[in-house]
């Protein structure tokens, strides 16, 4: 698989490590009243879809940025690559 990195262009997926579903960006608030439940779901449960999947990849053997890659889990086709930072800011999860 080739990941078209927004900053450094097309790179072999073997340069990256994979973390998982991009919903991991949406870490819940620990002050939440039912924090144990919300954290359980956040940490352990996954949609695991057959089809489009937004997921976190880390360019470990490269520029060390985190990316959100939109990929089809039935064909491995990658349709979108974003900097995780931009996604996090848009979701008000970072600055």
């Amino acid at each position: 698989m080739i990941i078209n990195h927004p900053l450094v262009g097309p790179r072999d997926a073997a340069e990256f490590t994979y973390l998982g579903d991009a919903s991991l960006i949406d870490r819940p608030d620990w002050k939440n009243k039912n924090a144990p439940d919300v954290f359980h779901d956040y940490l352990y449960l996954r949609d695991n879809p057959a089809g489009l999947h937004r997921e976190l990849w880390y360019h470990e053997q490269g520029d060390r940025s985190w990316l959100v890659v939109t990929r089809d889990t039935t064909t491995h086709e990658i349709s979108k690559v974003e900097l995780a930072r931009d996604v996090a800011i848009a979701r008000k999860r970072g600055k």
Binding site: L19, G20, P36, H40, L45, R46, N48, A50, E55, T73
Partner: protein, 416 residues
């Protein structure tokens, strides 16, 4: 269909025209006592033990393709019971005991070959960890032998003992481990279940569940609605997709694992050997092919094929351990979809929906579990409570902080 030496002889003389199918191709009935979703090893074993151990025969196994076309026919056939944690080891040891008697039990040649599994260690700490695991195995009489370097050399003189980076320190050997003919396991269980009255419905995909007032009353399939008192899902790599039809999210991700077979060679590899420093394992089939594999590809996928970086990684592992393997040519490679769980351990459990049961999370190691998984799932379905060796395989173990994490990797399925 029953087999005997006489039958083989007779058919040989009469043109082999008298063989009949090993199981029926029935039409779905409107209702069953139990519907098992998924005709892999686990689903078929469950049906077999439901009929044989509990006398429950009004059962259907519903399979979207053909039985044995999933992971049960794609794995590298290794069976062993060399786990460490109390939630796991008694279960896998029960499985090993069932394997040891399986051919007599279902009267089918599954080519069960207990020629031993050797896990190599490459450092003192790793060797100590294996000693500890061996002790845990001895607690359930699984049998484990800690071997020093010279003992390993006697067994496998062809290993790269003085590898500059990962010299071999020793290993742990489970003499009862080995391999089993995977397709025959599916066929043997299917034939045994069918002959006791179980309907095996192939080319029948489950597209949804009938849920009435929070109770599961059957399934919607590509061959129509089939009602049931109990529904038991065992779809391995498709767990996420299927349970989503009941609006359930699981502690599971689907990943691809690849396997490789070389051209046929003379007898070479005595049992199963695993590299302790990289991810590589190998055995030799009766036809002579080296059967080997390594890591999962590492990203979510439902495509039953892997990518080249892992092919390279597996072959590098092979070269580091057995340099002569470089002379063998690769014949075939394929992939299967693994239900990788958050702690690397499986589930055999009820769900929050009455009547709906779930079996999954087998990761890359569910073939060895096939007999015990079917045995314990049948127990759960028939008695309504878990079998004593499968009490820890519940979906709520993460909420309770009772994970069974053999590798100690945490909630990162691609590292288990």
């Amino acid at each position: 269909m029953r087999y005997s030496a006489w039958k083989v002889f007779w058919e040989g003389l009469t043109g082999n025209k008298g063989w009949t199918p090993q199981w029926r191709e029935p039409e779905p009935k409107p209702e069953y006592d139990v519907i098992i979703v998924g005709g892999g090893g686990h689903g078929l074993a469950t049906a077999y033990y439901l009929a044989k151990e509990h006398g429950i025969t009004n059962v259907a196994v519903v399979e979207k393709g053909w039985i044995g076309g999933g992971n049960v026919g794609r794995n590298t056939t290794i069976v062993r019971s060399n786990y460490m944690l109390p939630g796991n080891e008694p279960f896998y040891e029960l499985s090993m005991k069932l394997w040891e008697n399986l051919e007599q039990d279902f009267n089918y040649n599954a080519m069960i070959s207990q020629r031993g599994i050797l896990n190599l260690s490459h450092s003192d700490p790793q060797h100590d960890a294996y000693a500890r695991r061996g002790n845990a195995m001895q607690l359930v009489d699984a049998g484990a032998v800690l071997l020093g370097k010279e003992e390993v050399r006697k067994m496998c003189p062809f290993l790269d003992f003085d590898n500059a980076r990962f010299p071999i320190r020793g290993g742990i050997w489970q003499p009862r481990g080995g391999t089993v003919r995977h397709d025959a396991v599916a066929w043997g269980y299917a034939r045994g279940a069918d002959s006791r009255g179980v309907d095996i419905l192939q080319n029948c995909e489950v597209n949804g569940f009938i849920l009435e007032n929070g109770v599961c009353k059957g399934v919607e399939t590509s061959r129509g609605t089939i009602r049931a008192k109990k529904v038991a899902v065992a779809v391995a790599g498709n767990s996420g997709k299927v349970m989503a039809k009941a609006d359930m999210r699981l502690p599971i991700e689907s990943h691809v694992l690849q396997a490789f077979v070389s051209e046929g060679l003379k007898p070479l590899i005595p049992g199963v050997i695993t590299f302790g420093a990289g991810h590589f394992y190998v055995s030799q089939s009766d036809k002579g092919g080296l059967v080997f594999g390594g890591d999962i590809d590492g990203y979510n996928t439902y495509a039953q094929r892997g990518n080249l970086p892992v092919v390279e990684d597996v072959c590098e592992g092979g070269m580091a351990l057995i340099p002569m393997i470089g002379r063998a040519r690769l014949l075939r490679a394929w992939g299967g979809i693994m239900d990788m769980s958050m702690d690397g351990s499986p589930f055999i459990t009820k769900t929050h929906i009455d009547g709906l049961h779930f079996n999954g999370g087998w990761c890359y190691g569910g073939f060895k579990a096939t007999p015990a998984s079917g045995f314990c799932y049948a127990h759960l379905l028939a008695r309504g409570e878990p079998h004593e060796v499968a009490t820890e395989y519940r979906l709520d173990r993460f909420r309770r902080g009772a994970m069974i994490d053999e590798k100690g990797q945490g909630a990162q399925p691609n590292l288990h």
